[in-house]
Symmetry: C2
Subunit: 204 residues, 2 copies
């Protein structure tokens, strides 16, 4: 991983995109999202502010990467914990576990939700988390198209809930889970209606 060549003039080659994102994540954890700043990152990794534009085109790209970083931490927890992967567990409990995991990670960093709400959620880590969710929804009986829409719906609920609960700071876990179950009941009703479609009326 370390370049063989000794200290030389010119380019520093010491840094990487990952080093920038690590610094950004550290600032997020210590100071909150509105304090992760190009200048702060630069100071932390020991370069001039404008040097970070060697690695990212603008601040938005850094924040996109930071959102991905956050989802990477979530995904790491998913893969080595069978609360999510064990297909013998009831699907609803698995969704609960995953949703609470994501919510906990978001609540741990001030303003982190807003980072995700502004990101496109299409990086590799976002897809990895999404894939886990799709598997669970498939186990719940959703066909692939419905599972994709259901996965997006769950993202909306999780991110929206956390954003609003950090805004008014209520005892919101109950509301979060209550809404989650209403939503899941709706998904399941949909599966039942699709099954009826094969033999009865009411197409779509």
């Amino acid at each position: 991983m370390v370049d063989a060549r000794p200290v030389r003039p010119g380019p520093r080659r010491t840094l990487s995109e990952q080093a920038i994102l690590d610094a950004a994540l550290a600032l997020l954890a210590e100071l909150g999202a509105d304090r992760v700043t190009i200048r702060g990152i630069a100071t932390r990794v020991g370069i001039a502010p404008n040097a970070v534009y060697t690695y990212f085109p603008d601040k938005a790209a850094v924040l996109d990467g930071l959102a991905e970083q956050l989802l990477g931490r979530v995904d790491d927890n998913l893969v080595d914990d069978d609360r999510f992967t064990d297909s013998s567990r009831p699907w609803r409990e698995r969704v609960h576990s995953l949703a609470l995991e994501l919510r906990t990670e978001l609540l741990a960093h001030q303003g982190a939700v807003h980072l995700l709400l502004r990101s496109s959620l299409d990086g590799p880590n976002a897809n990895a988390v999404g894939a886990t969710l799709l598997t669970i929804l498939a186990d719940a009986g959703l066909d692939p198209a419905s599972a994709a829409k259901g996965s997006h719906l769950l993202n909306v609920h999780i991110l929206g809930s956390v954003a609003l609960e950090t805004a008014d700071a209520a005892a919101a876990t109950d509301q979060f889970l209550w809404g989650l179950d209403r939503l899941l009941d709706g998904l399941i009703t949909y599966v039942g209606a699709q099954r009826d479609d094969r033999t009865g009326p009411r197409p779509r």
Copy 2:
């Protein structure tokens, strides 16, 4: 509306909180949320930047007021349109109308969703919109406690959906309405389960 007294030295007395918020709303409509700026507002109403701190304690308070302003526009549309108030219409259609109305208003102003997601949604206009929603959910058969939770759940869905669809700009109306109906099915299933509780098992 115009004060009778002639030009005099000292305090200008020309301005009001509302004048500040009108300027903020104009900037939001013309330039987007990240360009509504204390300095821009001050320029627009013709005072020095620091003079707006006579009316609001800080920028966050101005943005809170702006969010309320936005909900006021929505509420104005609700009260004089019987698509929302006509209790003879099916409740689901009325929820659809209200949700789409709110969504349209949010999509009309770049970044407006994030203003609402950061606000506490407890001002008079937020409550007015909430009251309309509560009425509809009561007509759908929800008891007051469930209607309150359902109203919050709908806020989460509407704001979360709009935030994510402006983030990746898909053809998202279908997904929005699909998720909305899943969610409403879940609410209705809940009403059914409550009714069963009176005569059968499965408490909570």
